[in-house]
Symmetry: C2
DNA sequence: TGTTAGCACTCGCCTATCGAGAGTGCTAAT
DNA sequence: ATTAGCACTCTCGATAGGCGAGTGCTAACA
């Protein structure tokens, strides 16, 4: 069942050609462009075999062949070689990324913008992996007699806050007390843990004013925790996909847009994924059957945390894009390392 | 130069028909559907006059007439009658909006979602008018020895925060000192004021540690203030426009998307606008020449603050949409009024 | 004088048709 | 096992004809 050397060569040629031109590729053009030393007829026979094995498809009788998800999978796993970044891409990453190294969220957003600019695909980026994050402290800050700010801070510096308006005024003391009270209760616990176990929590407290305030704050607290799992997902460059031939049909474009707008789906997708660069092709995604999702992780202080990714049609330059993402995330991780660990700020390890 | 009664009737009929069907409307169909007591030939003559005056255009010789921006403007100013909301829309607004009255940002986002659902257009909403907002206080909160959170709170409860990572550790005391120091300096000043006058501010301070910390924090402070002018703009339902006949062309759709993604443009647009429901038609918008923007203001505690709006092709149901927006913003303002002012939470004034 | 009926004319759009081009799959020769 | 040759298929673009909707003009009419 293994493929012969020649079959691999042909398959590789077809993928390269199709990725480049977005058009079904025929035996003749393969024979011409890539000299494999065989005639079109031979290639046709091999192609026929490859199709039978599920690596190629015919869009219609008598159009060329198109690689299947299976073919891309084989390519990504076995055939693909790492690509050196172009000098331009490297320069862009080095220059644009360092500029705002001191601010976390901004840096991540910039990284996503950068990625979509370089790859000409839609990109997204997630700040520190929130499902593993633990609560560091909770603050309640006064605005006016009925308005207050609820602020939840995670151990990696992740923050979410909501402004709350109560029906009755609160007192300064009860506010401070509740802040401390909640911090003690939740400090060190993960968001997931709190969300699963706290929903129907007792609001019990000896002091009445405090109990009342807590009763008012808790529903928002829960909702804000839920937000914390979603809110730090940046999505950029979605209009890039309009330039791709697979999305010239308005229906395709609409479908893509609608899915891309579903932040929760991406968050879900990201949480389940392992370290490093991960490629999910076509059918391997439950929805988005004709899209490929490539994600990569970056680290903060060496700890595994955030993800960044691109999404586009299965027809994409896997070699280039994975290389770019590796370089970019290395660079990011380097930027987020404690200063002093390494002398220079330009991470690029695969130089 | 004034239009005759009959011309107004005909113009109104053309607008109604075109808004409904999105197709150039001919004299015959007007005569048939709206009985004005005149023949198609008469209508043709009037149409010809209306075209000469700039209220109608021909897409091509021998297709029906299409209303111009000028016609819509006339319609909105003089012809249009308030529409009663459908029971369904009213119910939706009442039910969905009350649900989360206690949380500001969430409510506004929901309002935008709701608006786009009801109108089938793209919508956006802005939390309290940030250019008038003054700084209430500034907090610096510790995360770990090198990481801290910078938090800016406005007088209407608007909050922005950034996580900062410094190159050198800071001390607890200097952090608290700087918090107070900055709060004293900026409390009560508007964002604009600070941004314009503070850029090259001295970092002077007698205590060295404080001066150093301040030097590290100030650049982020400025950037975060800038963020505060943009960040609270929610945009929803952009995929709705794919269902409109004016956006079946991929190029049109792309143009729309690209503009819709430009948050700063919307923010700009919103800041300049007056109270109440405002309609800006076609050419009246510098960009988006074939779009209409409708915005409305809502109030918090009776003070003028936030805006909410829809955007779509100039062909839209002005009467319905303005009525919906009036109802919705009244409802919002009512929800954000101090409790006790009025007994019931359902605002709807134009019942 | 304003209104209307009639009619020729103009376009845009849909459909059918045709030919070119690209590619396959099979067969027979090497 | 490989290749050349050939018939066949299918898509795509261009072209032409016909239909329908609508205008603009003229002449008749109240």
């Amino acid at each position: 069942m293994d493929l012969s050397e020649r079959q691999l060569q042909i398959l590789q040629a077809i993928i390269t050609d199709y990725v480049e031109n977005a058009e079904p590729v025929g035996s003749r053009s393969i024979a011409k462009k890539y000299d494999l030393g065989v005639s079109p007829a031979t290639i046709r026979n091999e192609m026929s075999d490859l199709e039978e094995m599920g690596y190629l498809t015919h869009p219609h009788t008598s159009a060329g062949r198109v690689p299947s998800d299976k073919a891309y999978r084989l390519y990504v796993n076995d055939l693909m070689k790492k690509k050196n970044l172009s000098a331009k891409d490297k320069r862009m990453i080095n220059e644009r990324l360092v500029a705002s190294r001191d601010e976390f969220d901004r840096t991540i957003r910039h990284a996503a913008e950068l990625l979509s600019e370089i790859t000409h695909l839609a990109s997204f980026a997630m700040t520190p992996a929130t499902n593993e994050e633990t609560i560091s402290f909770i603050r309640l800050l006064p605005v006016d007699e009925r308005t207050l700010i609820l602020m939840i801070v995670g151990d990696s510096g992740n923050v979410t806050n909501t402004t709350l308006r109560l029906n009755v005024p609160y007192t300064q003391e009860s506010l401070e007390l509740l802040s401390k009270n909640m911090t003690v209760s939740y400090k060190g616990r993960t968001l997931d843990d709190v969300l699963k176990n706290e929903i129907a929590e007792d609001v019990g407290s000896d002091i009445e004013a405090l109990a009342q305030l807590k009763g008012n704050v808790m529903p928002s607290f829960i909702r804000t925790l839920e937000d914390m799992l979603n809110v730090n997902l940046y999505m950029e460059g979605m209009t890039n996909i309009f330039n791709l031939p697979e999305y010239t049909s308005i229906d395709r474009a609409r479908d893509f847009m609608e899915l891309f707008a579903r932040k929760d789906w991406f968050t879900q997708k990201m949480l389940a994924r392992e370290d490093g660069v991960v490629v999910t092709i076509g059918e391997e995604n439950d929805k988005m059957k004709d899209c490929t999702l490539i994600t990569a992780t970056y680290h903060v202080d060496g700890k595994l945390v955030g993800k960044i990714g691109v999404i586009g049609p299965t027809r994409m330059k896997y070699d280039e894009i994975t290389s770019i993402m590796e370089y970019l995330t290395n660079n990011l991780s380097e930027s987020f390392r404690l200063p002093g660990d390494t002398g220079d700020g330009n991470a690029g390890k695969d130089e």
